[in-house]
Symmetry: C2
DNA sequence: CATTACCTTGACGTGCGCGTTAACGTTGCT
DNA sequence: AGCAACGTTAACGCGCACGTCAAGGTAATG
């Protein structure tokens, strides 16, 4: 019987299914340094944490949504690493200053990402406008010569 | 000496340069049916019209902005063809009904494009929100332990 | 008419992002 | 202990989107 709250650590099979990717793809991402190697069970099986799954999903989004190459994505998710490090070393000792520097860098990267998102969205808005105008031209044409047309 | 109003028809060299693509890429797009074969001069050199250039630019945008494959893009620019046909046959005879049907199809395609643009933009907005929250977390962390930080 | 710059069509090469197969180890259940 | 289900690495393959020659034709200039 299964834990109703799914095992918290997933083997690659379930992980792939939930992420809508193939096992091959997950291993490939790991190979390319997009995923920090997940923990393994004794036999060597990969175990994906919730954080891992989150990250996998962000990678997928960046690919599908923004059409980035894996290399570009790898560069972009630096900031995730910092975030996870923060969580991990939360109560760790020492080096507040160094961590602060890392966080500032992560903040910078994140800001750049936001900027580029905004740029893309601006262009997409322009594109949307163009398409809208096109629709209106079609409608004008149709109304002029085929007035009995139903509009949606 | 050059016409100040650039020759209206461009050879592949200038066309590529202006579109920020390579000649190879333009030929490749033509080969794949993304561009209707441009007119040629007597010797066989390709001549790109303003419409061609417009189309090339839309292809580039779809690739860079949306990350689509050439196959997907080819499917999407159907509606462009109709638009150009309209211009061409503007005062042509006959078949208003048939043309109307084409226009309705083009309108449909365009609507779908708008819908998908909207979907993408929605997701990008969500992503932007996530990034914004991340920034705020960074700022909170920095403010708590390194209060002497300058914000931008 | 010769030179130079630009173009043409093949054809092979390349990097990316995986798919697929092979050979084999692990886990869980009975 | 045995079997099925699941996992592992390694290696080859593949389609896409071009890059990069090679061998030659065309255009513009002096």
């Amino acid at each position: 019987m299964e834990d109703s709250q799914s095992h918290a650590y997933l083997q690659i099979g379930e992980a792939a299914e939930r992420a809508q990717l193939t096992q091959r793809t997950l291993r490939y991402y790991e190979e390319k340094g997009l995923l920090n190697s997940p923990t393994r069970m004794d036999g060597g099986f990969r175990l994906y944490s919730a954080d891992d799954m989150e990250r996998i999903d962000r990678i997928r989004q960046m690919k599908e949504l923004l059409g980035f190459s894996l290399a570009e994505i790898k560069a972009m998710i630096e900031s995730d690493d910092v975030r996870l490090q923060i969580r991990a070393e939360w109560r760790s000792d020492a080096d507040t200053a160094e961590k602060a520097e890392q966080i500032r860098r992560a903040r910078e990267v994140t800001l750049q990402q936001i900027t580029m998102l905004d740029q893309k969205m601006t262009k997409m808005n322009a594109m949307r406008e163009t398409l809208n105008e096109r629709i209106q031209k079609y409608d004008a044409w149709l109304l002029e010569r085929v007035p009995q047309t139903a509009r949606s």
